[in-house]
Symmetry: C3
Subunit: 492 residues, 3 copies
């Protein structure tokens, strides 16, 4: 079943297409800076001082093998459209089936996919995806046409020509993008071969570090849990048929991840509750999970215990714990069954942290080694809970806005909501969270511009001296992410 529908396509056809014709794709050097001339001058000065700084990307979803193998990218659709659910979801929202965009559909013609994208350029007006694409097409690929039905083929050909050149291979772009650290996201059973290859390569000067993400082992009621346990058991060479074995295996793999350069873990949970359970209780639920008889209530209790145990491990081994919660994953069952995960329908609900993390923070929040970065897709949590928690607990940091709120407007609102109580140095620094490798510079650049604007407002309203604002801007792209994510050994 395709989700494309006559009705929605009609709606789409109702858009006027003339507006973009004839214009050039030329991102303005002052884009995103505040419009007031006085404030803009300050912002421009701040931005220009950090525009060229190395990129620390401590949280993302690029595959390490992409860099290790350094194979040329495929076609423009495969690179820029099909795998990026930020892009496909909004075209889907205008009645185009994900299959037509190549998702789980190797037969789709990449040029047709590209045409679909370009002919929907107008629906991206005002969105952050449009913003990233303008920077990326122009600054990475040198495209000068505004995408449209008319220009689609020409842009496609230009991109194809560029991608064939050696300077567009992943490692060459890594250098050109000036990436100091790129953190990937990895399953505990992963062998991390690509990370090891890169670390051992004397010709590769950046750092590509794994991140330990144990989500699929946390809930004994997820489909396939038994198989996951087996995979992990093999990777760790520990029997995960018991709860105690699972805990041991996770500890062993964390140690392995650290050996391979990891400095952090990541957890995406349905809610931000962490509560220890007695071991015997965990063991009982573990066995029920393996037997396929676990109740939803027991599974939730088990998962909340696992989150607590991950914190306990972090307080031991010092891997920085990242937590984001309150998103319903794979919301649309039919789309999930047909197209798999990460296809644009992870959908958020209200977030709260204070009550659910109380026990965890009482036990580990003042620990020397523990560190917790809290992410949210619910903006209200910044001023209400996350900044207040980070303003007391030495271990807690305010994670940058993420997923739907990784936008210029929302980043500015985040700064306004978090800084006045927690200060800059208890925020995490920008994370791009992306699987779209070529969008990394555009995303970090966006953040630097918005932060420059925020700092300039503080200067213009005499809340901050200009030299201090410059110093903070430098910190936000350097010592702050390095400190938060314990990246000191990789710092430039």
């Amino acid at each position: 079943m395709s989700t494309a529908t006559a009705d929605h396509q009609t709606a789409s056809a109702g858009r006027r297409n003339g507006a973009t014709t004839g214009r050039r794709l030329a991102p303005h050097p002052d884009r995103l800076l505040p419009p007031d001339p006085g404030v803009r001058a300050i912002a421009r000065s701040i931005y220009s001082s950090v525009a060229g700084a190395p990129i620390y990307s401590p949280h993302g979803h690029v595959d390490a093998a992409l860099i290790a193998d350094n194979r040329p990218f495929g076609n423009p659709a495969e690179l820029l459209i099909t795998p990026d659910h930020y892009v496909t979801r909004l075209i889907h929202a205008h009645g185009i089936g994900l299959d037509q965009l190549g998702v789980k559909n190797p037969d789709a013609d990449p040029r047709e996919i590209w045409r679909l994208f370009c002919s929907h350029w107008d629906v991206f007006a005002g969105t952050v995806v449009r913003y990233w694409f303008e920077s990326e097409l122009s600054e990475v690929f040198g495209i000068t046409d505004v995408p449209s039905a008319e220009t689609a083929d020409q842009i496609y050909d230009q991109l194809t020509e560029q991608l064939a050149k050696p300077e567009f291979h992943p490692r060459e772009l890594f250098d050109r993008f000036n990436i100091a650290v790129l953190a990937t996201t990895d399953d505990p059973s992963a062998d991390l071969a690509a990370h090891k290859t890169l670390a051992a390569d004397p010709d590769f000067h950046g750092a590509v570090v794994p991140t330990f993400r144990a989500d699929r082992y946390m809930s004994p009621d997820v489909t396939g849990w038994k198989g996951y346990l087996d995979e992990l058991g093999q990777a760790a060479d520990i029997d995960t048929g018991s709860y105690a074995g699972l805990i041991d295996a996770l500890k062993a793999r964390r140690a392995y991840f650290k050996e391979c350069g990891a400095t952090a873990s990541d957890s995406g949970m349905p809610d931000a509750y962490a509560e220890p359970l007695p071991d015997a209780e965990c063991e009982r639920i573990h066995q029920a999970g393996i037997a396929g008889t676990v109740t939803a209530e027991d599974a939730a209790a088990y998962r909340r215990n696992m989150l607590y145990q991950l914190a306990a491990m972090a307080a031991e081994d010092g891997l920085v714990m990242q937590l984001h919660a309150d998103v319903v994953r794979n919301y649309d069952d039919a789309s999930f069954q047909r197209f798999g995960p990460d296809t644009g329908h992870d959908l958020p609900g209200p977030s709260t942290f204070t009550r659910g993390l109380r026990r965890l923070l009482n036990d580990f929040g003042r620990s020397e080694t523990f560190r917790l970065v809290l992410f949210t897709t619910d903006e209200t949590a910044f001023s209400r809970e996350i900044a207040p928690l980070a303003g007391f607990y030495p271990s807690v940091y305010v994670g940058a806005p993420w997923w739907f709120i990784d936008t210029p407007g929302a980043i500015a609102r985040f700064r306004a909501a978090a800084i006045d109580s927690a200060g800059f140095s208890k925020t995490s620094g920008f994370i791009d969270d992306t699987r779209a490798y070529c969008s990394i510079p555009a995303r970090h650049d966006m953040s630097r511009r918005v932060d420059a604007g925020f700092l300039a407002e503080l200067v213009a309203t005499h809340q901050l001296a200009e030299d201090e604002a410059h110093d903070i801007a430098a910190g936000l792209v350097g010592r702050i992410p390095v400190n938060t994510f314990r990246l000191d050994r990789y710092a430039r």
Copy 2:
């Protein structure tokens, strides 16, 4: 019992009254446009290109008979104060009883009501009601005095004089207001006679279309439910003594509404949960409802099933489903008993959509014919849930801010919260939601000004080209509401 109190009146008397004396009521041509001169110039250009566009009002509460009968309006209080709970509620909040404002009190002297309003002009400072009144008094009625205790009588006399003129009759105003479509809100048992009269009238060139609102049939524990069922049964000529009969009657009436020009339904629910129940379960609860023995829990389950069934009907017949939720209706029991519904104490709580609508969206969200516009009075839902849902599901649209957040500031925040992930074309266009007929132009004009300012900021920060901003502004007042509410046949 009057809610007027000596104490609150003292507080009110404590206000200084001098400030407004001697000023002229002259709404500034640049009102609501951003203050920065550069941004304002862009905004002015955008605004002026849409200021005169026809009004599509796809959601409101004007009575169709007002237009069909075209009788002259009564006195200023009856037209502008008594029925408008936006106005009466804030005067009530300063200690004046609703009875003194004419609510359920035919003996109240309209001139006295008007004086009360004018002498409270200062308490409206900074509110959107003040903003609308300034535009409306000046631009519809040509009033030049600022309302105050001193000017009340003179303004009253001027308004009375104006209202007697033929050009102030409802139909003449309809033309002068340049209304293309006015949607009303109607009970399923309504005969829609006025709508039919207007549709059949060759001299009437606008469209006044009904909207199907079945709220009072949804909850079998509301007082009078049995009587409502009987009314509906008679209108549909179907026995509504069974759940199956109710479903059939609603379907029949939806068909009748479509014949009479309807393109949409509307539902206002205590929460946004929709879950189907087995038919037998519904039948059991239906009978308990008729017998007056239904439990609150069963009634809620029944209501959530009904919402699901309305969605199923919408997926069949294509009426656009509007949903607003999480408002406690008729919060103050004593005021409700004395003054009836819609008297200013429908009061909102937190809103959430993602989890409650999952089943509904899984079943209908990708349907060709289904369309769902989500409204909220909780601003936090825009960036957290509504825009994310609309950015994936072809059927879902982001409804404009409503009731307490239908204000310049909140509309600007809504744009900032929704556009960066969902884009302009997945928003609904402005709805005025008003029963105050003469305020319709002022409300739509407000929206056009705020949108012009928002677009101008995007242009000034180089996120949007100016020609594209003009095109979007035109869309927001034309093809976007026409598309969202399926008004194509009425479009100008």
Copy 3:
């Protein structure tokens, strides 16, 4: 155990320290005013008209004995750092133990505490604490150096010198600060001796009035409840061993507080629910509380009944009821046990008022004597619930932003969220809520600046005439707090 950790101190040491060296502490006369030159000119005019107005401080935590005794302040750390959890919490968040800052540690060297504060000056960049300190150090104490590790000793010596002068004694500062009314927060069993001393002193021209705060009697499951009841019983000379006795004792003490000048009560509750219980039920739970056998569920029901009863008392005696809710007090158990309450880890969660206060507002909301000021640390409640409630009920007022959101940015957002539906005159006026006596002028000045900026935006966007904006600004610092908190007898 100290919470200071090597790891966090390393992070802290990672900060650059050069940025602040050599600059002067000279708060700009236009600070916090909007940067656009046109808007700033309007804001400056509005601000200057209220900058020198007397201070009404209707809610705070200064000890009345401080003023009554008029002893010189101790050292700078004891005055400015150790007791102010706004300050200590953020230093704690950077790995410094509260003990090192003097909390429950009389052996700590005040000069060392001051050095710790100054060497952490950079972590306060962008925070409201930094903002207040700049104003306070400069304008109250005449300090011209920016705090830093290098300047710490010199500033300490200057402050010490100043504090020794008679003009820096509490009463002299009271006059210099131009405080008209200072409300304190007091336990119902307090004898209010200092308040009586001041009221009887013909040489003291201000008003220092108590506020009735009965929190510790509300929940029969708090540790020490029985002892609290005994204290109250002695103060009231009424046996509080029964629920009826507790109610009587509270009523008696409210009457005593009124005699001593009180105009208001205050309640900080885990949630904003108020529901009456039958007396027999209350009596049963009361006895269980005394016996130490009360369940959490019963204790919550008792507490919600007590809140309802306090409202009933307020509707009788006219003490203005202040309510703030949804903060987890003393979140970190170990810190609470070691350092006591009010040490920076009262941490907020989501707030909601509409449903929980329905019964209370139905019963008292339209009463002549009842008045309820609703405070929140969850900004979302302003536009969603508090302003809508205050825009209908004569008794309800929108409390100013509090605790974590008492900041320039959050105050501006509060104005934008509340005024457009509730108007200025249903807001409470600024409250400083502080125990930091010398920060009072800086805090009120901050509020006046932000309000001037908000009003100037309304003027610049032609929503308000400039003369009316001036009048409102005067109201916000005068007649509005006087009216809201029934301070007429103390008004200047």
